[in-house]
Chain length 642, copies 2
């Protein structure tokens, strides 16, 4: 019988007992300790490197390490098999970049009122209606249910009501206890309205909903007051599925290993959303029972995992998911902790790699109702590009990686307190200015910060157009890390908020280069398939869970966005969340989003022979063919003359 | 602390331990032993008389017993409190008249084909559809769910499909296992069609449904093959709620005692229906999983108890039930044992005392679609009268008691094997002829048998027009029972099928007199409220769970039905079950039945000052005012002349 070994993880001093030969990564999963793993444990990404301080673990590739490092106990957690009791150190790079942290101070980019949309009338998917019923008499002795329906019909425009058995059983008691004065909770179900619950008296307040954007890297929830549609607060965290892989492909691989392999991923995302909900309601001195429903957007894989639908086939050609349009389910059936009878509305997806986040974004951005043709670029772990107008909608998806969400970069973080979100350099040696979220001491760099930083590094010559750090220019801010990687220090430890250097590494820059190339390449191919160019596009809207405004000029400078008239570029923030919130507050919007999903055509990049070529061409700052970026070219030429 | 006493019930040798001071009736409930109790334990009906053979029980009224009987240990089970260990004998009168017994030989009166209705097209509420889906490809990569919906849309005309979470989770696996060749089970939900289940391969056969009529006294189920709509068999039994009271009022009183008091009644009816379903599927070598749905009619209280809805307020003015129109529920949620995902459709009720049985009957009889005004009289434990046509529908309900269902009469039985269903007497001493169901040796008398028997006893002078047995005429067939009641023997024990006399008692005759008077009186009052008389009615249809044809001439002779032109009288059998079956097989019929419920007006007899007067006037054979029955009067005059 295999021996049991005790593994102690540092920092955090968490220990766990596992059988001999278990991998360190599996032991970490069991202990609830996060270790980064982009490839989901295949031993190919090298992200899960840890150091064995005491004891012995064996096996695994050596390609990621120097001899010295191997001697020091460096090993890949996914490959190192435990031989004896261990003490394992998880270096910062292998930890999730940030523990859950919530701030209220980030501008609510997805606030519905800021979108100022027409055609949106306040009609939430779930409503509470207080009614005073006429008591029954011999002249008016319809059933309790019909009495309630007749009264609700005066407030709610619905062709028909429907009530589940459990509530029907309780109904007479509730009507009598409330002395015919009751509050009904009703949920929109298309042609039917479900009477979800009935409570004695006036319980219309409080009444909340959660609008959620469930991203591969970041999960964001807004708490919305259903009295007036105002957003009370937001909370966000990194998707804790990250420990099963950095992108959807690796998570699907993990989920498809054997029957039940998807369960830990399902539990992880359910628990993430629950954590955000709990935090939001606690902050506002509410209970989970005050949340009547959740309206969720997210990519197809995330929605599938949240609902517990099989994801296996999404990864394999022809990339088919179980269901793209689902009715509202009881949130409790999924494991989400709101009112026990509350509903979960998932917005519709289009294809295996075009999810509800994009459909919600198309609606929220207004693209689908315009005469002129626009483009929407949603920058997340996948970059999705939509081109269309009121008559047609075409969409493609490219795997970009999570760099723009502040993940998987050495100092990457979400746009929360202490994140550098904008920066300007004076020269290779001097930072001119930077700003942080909440003006706190800097502890890391957000997605918008990286766009600025890479553009500035390019302008001052610290990196060249291939992205390589120019050691002859970078000067005193340049160091070589313990793993032999070049890093450029933005803020030294002494001035940072966590006594650590805020840096950007060569690897970070390479990640950002590939991410922007994937997005730009996809946009180019999609336009070509429509026999169009960027000049045919009236407006390019950039969406993403950046948390703060993207400097569009810098985004063009690094070649993330095309070099068009700046007037035609617009940053629209987290359009996915905005769409989810519009749907939550207006059932006409919900229906329109369903129609958008129906009429969006998916363009499969993977089968396009030109995509790889476009991607490689875009793996330059701003592009191999700089003539595509005339304004950027002019700036380079001007700089060279200086 | 109270002592525990052991109570042994005979016959059956069932024993139970209960606390001292428990009533014998409560002990019987605990032991699962049936003791008749019309009043539900109020000590007023005297039906639960038992004999204490050993031990001591005390208390209770003495009015039902002679001194001799009290000395012999006779006591009311509902009032006798247990003092010591007991041996209790339950006399035949206090037992349920009949153990569950099933025959296939009864004509299927409710067979849809016999109704020959127009406008009914075969479209069952739940269907199985076998589809061969095109496998997905890069050019056709809609989700699994949409692929299925697109294929089903070619077979099922529905504005929208909807699928629950559990089935959606299983869907991809089922499609792959079936290699895109699957069978979908779909349920009609008005504007939506629910995809209840999906199975690999062609599982369209077998596919069955149950049409049920849930009466206060009798529960009837038909097993219907959904391939062709043919009825494969029927099963019926007495409603085992009888032990809680003979009519709905006493059952409601029992159910309303305290929280949870309704649970035994709910369990009783659920278990009755399950017993009938099990019997039917076993007889046809099927499993319960082959039954896809149940379509149930029944009175308002029975439907409420089946669904576990509170019944308390049905009994109290203004007589309001919890819900009269309910959506289909998962049958398993109610406890009914069919396919675990199968549905229960309950037809709609109109008022506390006008149930789905009547609404189904109105539809099945065709009354609601005619130009001319007709009347429907449904004879059950309650007698309901409907008057109307395609433009109006008015309905009233009178408590008749279960005599016409063969219950609560000394030799009463359902119309099953050995029941005398028709009889003619030569004179007071001689039976001319009788027939029994299945031509078996007689063991009891069915509802139609009682109508014939009372009419014949009246004709030959054994009873007078008040219903009293005329001892000077009745002759040798007359005896006095051990309880001092006059009885008239129809078939002596030597010729019966169970070695017991088949008799009719003075009490039985009184029951039938009151039952027919309640129905006739209600019909009269309802017509008066419409300023109509029987002459304004083009046809009078008589429905009921008689199980065989009612002799309408005799029904008129005893004053159950008015003395109109025989051409205008028609027996339509179990119209409630027929309506349930039509709804089950045709969703247009189901919808029409819902519309009928909506437009039926309930006329409250209890508040009509003239009802008691009409009832008392009708407590004569055929009526106090015999001039209302000219043909019957002529027959009496002819007989007197002889």
């Amino acid at each position: 019988m295999a021996k049991t070994c005790k593994v102690l993880f540092q920092p955090g001093e968490t220990s766990v007992n596992v059988l001999q030969s278990t991998t360190i990564l599996a032991a970490a999963h069991k202990a609830g300790v996060f270790i980064n793993s982009l490839c989901g444990g295949d031993g190919v990404c090298g992200r899960c490197r840890v150091t064995v301080l005491q004891g012995r673990a064996v096996g695994g590739s050596t390609e990621f390490f120097t001899h010295e490092e191997i001697r020091q106990g460096h090993i890949l957690a996914c490959e190192g098999r435990i031989e004896t009791d261990l003490v394992v150190d998880i270096p910062p790079e292998a930890r999730l970049a940030e523990p859950p942290e919530y701030v209220d101070e980030v501008p609510l980019l997805a606030d519905v009122s800021r979108l100022g949309r027409k055609g949106v009338r306040f009609s939430p998917l779930v409503r509470k209606t207080h009614v005073q019923l006429p008591p029954p008499s011999l002249d008016d002795n319809v059933s309790d249910l019909q009495r309630l329906e007749l009264a609700l019909g005066k407030h709610i425009d619905s062709p028909g009501f429907q009530m589940g058995l459990k509530v029907t059983r309780r109904l007479p008691g509730v009507l009598h206890r409330g002395e015919w004065n009751v509050t009904a909770v009703t949920g929109y179900r298309g042609p039917l309205t479900e009477i979800i619950d009935v409570e004695p008296g006036d319980t219309t307040q409080p009444n909340m909903c959660i609008a959620a954007d469930i991203g591969t890297t970041t999960v964001v929830c807004h708490l919305v007051d259903l009295r007036d549609g105002q957003t009370l607060g937001q909370a966000a965290k990194y998707n804790s599925q990250a420990r099963f892989g950095g992108d959807v492909i690796h998570r699907i691989i993990h989920a498809s290993q054997e029957a039940g392999s998807d369960e830990p991923l399902r539990k992880a995302i359910v628990s993430d959303v629950n954590e955000l909900i709990h935090d939001l309601v606690q902050r506002h001195r509410l209970g989970t029972q005050d949340v009547s429903f959740i309206c969720a957007a997210g990519n197809t894989t995330m929605i599938h995992l949240l609902l517990g639908l099989p994801v296996e086939n999404i990864r394999k050609s022809p990339y088919v998911g179980a269901a793209y349009r689902v009715p509202p389910f009881r949130a409790a059936e999924v494991g989400l902790q709101i009112n026990p009878r509350g509903l979960l509305y998932c917005l519709p997806c289009v294809a295996g790699f075009v999810g509800a986040d994009i459909v919600a974004g198309i609606y929220a951005s207004g693209l689908s109702s315009r005469e002129e043709v626009s483009m929407l670029i949603d920058i997340g772990t996948n970059g999705e590009i939509v081109v269309g107008n009121k008559d047609f909608l075409v969409c493609a998806s490219a795997s970009a990686g999570p760099s723009f969400e502040g993940a998987e970069c050495r100092c990457g973080m979400r746009a929360t307190r202490g994140a550098i979100d904008h920066i300007r350099l004076l020269d290779a040696e001097h930072v001119l200015s930077f700003s942080t979220i909440s003006s706190a001491a800097p502890i890391g760099i957000s997605g918008t910060g990286y766009v600025d930083l890479v553009a500035e590094l390019l302008r001052v010559g610290v990196i060249d157009r291939t992205g390589r750090i120019n050691t002859s220019v970078a000067g005193s801010r340049l160091t070589e890390s313990e793993y032999g990687e070049l890093t450029y220090t933005i803020v030294p430890a002494a001035q940072s908020g966590n006594d650590k250097d805020v840096i950007i590494s060569q690897g970070d820059i390479n990640n950002i280069l590939r991410a922007k190339a994937a997005i730009y390449g996809a946009a180019t191919i999609l336009l070509k398939s429509l026999s169009m160019t960027f000049s045919d596009i009236s407006e390019i809207m950039v969406a993403g869970a950046f948390g703060n405004f993207l400097n569009l000029e810098n985004a063009v400078f690094i070649g993330l966005l095309p070099d068009v008239d700046p007037e035609r570029l617009r940053f629209v923030g987290n359009a996915s969340l905005a769409g989810a919130k519009l749907a939550a507050l207006c059932h006409d919007s919900y229906e329109e989003i369903i129609r958008i999903a129906d009429r969006t055509t998916y363009f499969e990049l993977s089968t396009d022979p030109n995509f790889m070529e476009e991607f490689v061409s875009a793996c330059f700052f701003p592009h191999t063919n700089i003539e595509l970026f005339p304004r950027v070219m002019a700036e380079f030429q001007k700089a060279r003359k200086r």
